[in-house]
Symmetry: D2
Subunit: 150 residues, 4 copies
């Protein structure tokens, strides 16, 4: 199987949404309103360099196999900023074939192109399947996340 990575396009909406729904389900957020997906997709389509960009992985038959969303944001220690890879999802039937790795590497390339080579992401400590890959393509840090309790 070959996988092509390209920016998400307007015609991808339905398939993109199914993938993003799968990702939200992983985080136990089923049944988000359609508005949630409409807003997110519209932001990707706006191609605002200050907002999120989306990449999709496309299989041989033209269907979407995975997605990633990333954004550049300021960093106090690095004037060029950093690249935050927030969302990453491969559909279950397409796992183990390098889709997630190809998406991460495409974000690395996009970050290099933007002159912002520092890419990072956060993942739950118990995301074992994800971390098997992340340990190969990135460095685990000792940083953990605290959230304001709202």
């Amino acid at each position: 199987m070959s996988v092509t990575i390209r920016p998400v396009e307007a015609a991808d909406k339905a398939e993109w949404q199914r993938l993003f729904e799968g990702y939200q389900l992983y985080y136990e957020r089923p049944d988000l309103p359609q508005e949630f997906y409409d807003t997110a997709f519209a932001r990707l389509m706006a191609r605002d360099p200050r907002d999120f960009a989306g990449l999709v992985a496309v299989g041989d038959e033209g269907h979407l196999l995975g997605l990633t969303h990333y954004v550049f944001h300021p960093h106090m220690w690095r004037p060029e900023g950093v690249c935050y890879l927030q969302d990453l999802f491969t559909k279950p039937e397409a796992r183990g074939q390098g889709v997630a790795r190809a998406l991460i590497e495409a974000v690395y390339a996009a970050a290099d192109n933007a002159g912002v080579p520092s890419v990072y992401w956060l993942t739950q400590e118990f995301n074992y399947a994800g971390r098997m890959l992340y340990d190969k393509v990135a460095t685990r840090t000792p940083f953990i996340r605290y959230n304001r309790a709202l």
Copy 2:
């Protein structure tokens, strides 16, 4: 002792730098060039709502006791974005008096004012002194950070 939290101002440069140097030392980055501090301070002074803002804690005698730097950045799941509290430092002599807590709470207030109430930060798993406070004012999440290896 009373502590006042206010935005960092041009006249604070020398004291602000001493604090930020202490913070960088914590992360084992001594001897950063003066340019590093000049650039960082200039960014704070620019008051760009898309870039970092800085708050300082001022003690009774008018000297700076601590600092924090935060930024608002886009979040794919929340159209209003999130607030990233990147830097937080209290000078050693002023610890245990609520300076860090007051700084965090001031960021919470600034985030509320901006309509972006979600505040988060990252800290090293072994930052015991910090986490004693963070456990009181925030929620530890199971998220850990991966960095692209550069």
Copy 3:
């Protein structure tokens, strides 16, 4: 495939050693002297209720697929003591077929028989494949291990 769990026997020595070598390799301890394996096996054969017991998983063709070693030791809070499952290994070709789970459950049964139902083990935080199973058959605790530096 069916798997039978039974105590390790003298005739298992060669196959048991190959499995224990695989386990030691996982912990980056290749090339242990033959004496290491001889001593360990002799302890298992001694059937001393105060020392380790060994169980092996046997496949359809009579070959060993996995092993586990456990010991009962005193616990200050529980007069009956606890059961420490120290070693657990399934040979790579036999993974994903329930061998490790069957071994763990056999230790649970042995612990129940001994009147020492509290079974625990330690695993490296990044043993993702192991933890996928452990999360199903046990409870992760917040306890981490410190070793005297020797």
Copy 4:
């Protein structure tokens, strides 16, 4: 203040119990029956080399400031076994004076005397105050504990 470490003795029962109660409270186990403490103390008094030994820290005025309980148990990889330091407690008023460190070092010495120099213990990941000390006198490992769910 000077601290003396010595084995717990019969005359220590009342003070020892108060310390062990404080320790159990840390683990959110208040109101254990008197029988729990009687049994634990009797085991220490039995001086069984296969069961737990107890050390206490005594201050200038002869009162107990802290305690530790340790046991030697078999280890599959080391014929000589290992030393498990299970309990460690310093009374709140006596903290920050080296009591816990002196107790740990006394266990190290006892382990050396017994020819079982490998000492280890488990602590909750969020035991910040404890870990500040443990990082100085021991090595943090990546091992985490799983418990059979009972």
